[in-house]
Amino acid sequence: MTDTNFEIRADSLSKRFNKTLLFKGLSFSIKTGNSLSLTGPNGSGKSTLMQILAYIQKPTRGSVTFFQNEKKLEENDINRYIGFTSPLLNPYEELTGYENIYFVLRNKKDEAKILPLMEEFLLIKHKDKSLKYYSSGMKQRLKFICAVINDPPILFFDEPGTNLDRKGKDLIYSYIESVKKEKIIVIATNEEEEIRLCREDIKIAQ
């Protein structure tokens, strides 16, 4: 268990796209050691809610606040504390897998962490290949490595099992299982296995 505790507080979140109301009045909080799944039918706003939580989108109403040991974090600093994967996230196709991970690495002294993680997620043989030649499953695993390489205390995964075969899913799920007690984990999904990884669930009705 880490000494630093983080908390995300969502207060009366609403999101509207033109005339379509995705969700309204969502309030909840999540602390280090807890994991949350966001479930709901397609188009219900799971990914949007996750992006609002990660400060990628702004809510129409309401607010999201991050705390570190009860101290409010500045919006500009949030990126340092989060890891994020999503089907919307695209690494650079012209760069190799290794170069993409190196780009994401905040502390370049941690470069030695790249190869073991690529080995763990079965990408070591492809480390010098441009992403143009990666399959969609390989890209998904690479995005996962990019999200976790800096060991952030808060992890957001939007459909983490997308495009993965059984082996790939097992790798990712066992990684999430191994770190979930020391981090905040939020997963947007409708996959039973991914929902079971989380302690709490928010169902977004359409």
Binding site: N79, P91, S130
Partner: protein, 219 residues
């Protein structure tokens, strides 16, 4: 932040040189236009004023494709979220700005010798000529960086960028042409003052762009 700026800059050059689209097209455009003008001129010697006008028009239109590309590419290839999550907004803006400075400088290095050679331009004040090229390049690339960010978010392509850039860059082009004419004719008095104008113009544009960038690129 400095290390983040250089990391982003290194990444942009790597991506550009592996893709080569913008840089190659711009250099090819510059080379072909210079050759086309020199061939169609058929040995006619132009006045220094006309030579300056043609030089800056070639540089302006050659650069337009590449200067906007650095932001448009992030949107077209949907990598902007990846960049945003892994870089501060300040470092994104400053690295793209530096990229555009260097890109414009590369274009000038290609265009100017070709232009001087083919059109037999006699530069009477090389120092002023060089200063005007560099400071004018800084002014153009600093204005076009923020415009590139705006166009990329508007879902626009290079042609929209050229259209919106032109009125903003008109005073820069006007002064650059006048000062280049001075350099060709060795009338240095106003020319050196104009380099200061370009630097001041760039300073103001960069400061405003730096403050507005968050609202343009994120919100």
């Amino acid at each position: 932040m400095l290390s983040e700026i250089f990391r982003n800059l290194r990444k942009d050059f790597r991506v550009e040189f592996r893709n080569r689209a913008a840089i190659n097209i711009s250099i090819a455009f510059a080379g072909i236009t210079t050759l086309a003008i020199s061939l169609t001129a058929g040995g006619v010697s132009f006045s220094p004023r006309v030579q300056s006008i043609m030089l800056w028009i070639i540089m302006f239109f050659s650069a337009m494709n590449g200067l906007a590309h650095i932001f448009i590419r992030e949107e077209e290839e949907r990598t902007s979220l990846f960049l945003r999550l892994n870089s501060s907004l300040e470092s994104v803006f400053l690295s793209k700005l530096l990229f555009n400075f260097i890109f414009f400088l590369i274009l000038q290095v290609v265009i100017c010798p070709l232009y001087i050679f083919f059109l037999q331009v006699d530069v009477k004040s090389p120092l002023l000529f060089l200063l005007i090229l560099v400071s004018g390049g800084i002014a153009i690339s600093s204005s076009t960086t923020i415009l590139g960010a705006m166009v990329s978010k508007a879902g626009g392509k290079g042609s929209l960028f050229t259209v919106i850039s032109f009125p903003i860059l008109l005073p820069v082009l006007w002064i650059a042409i006048t000062s280049t004419t001075d350099a060709l004719e060795k009338r240095a008095s106003a020319g050196f003052g104009n380099t200061l104008f370009f630097l001041a113009f760039s300073g103001v544009i960069i400061s405003i762009s730096f403050l507005l960038f968050k609202y343009i690129w994120v919100e």
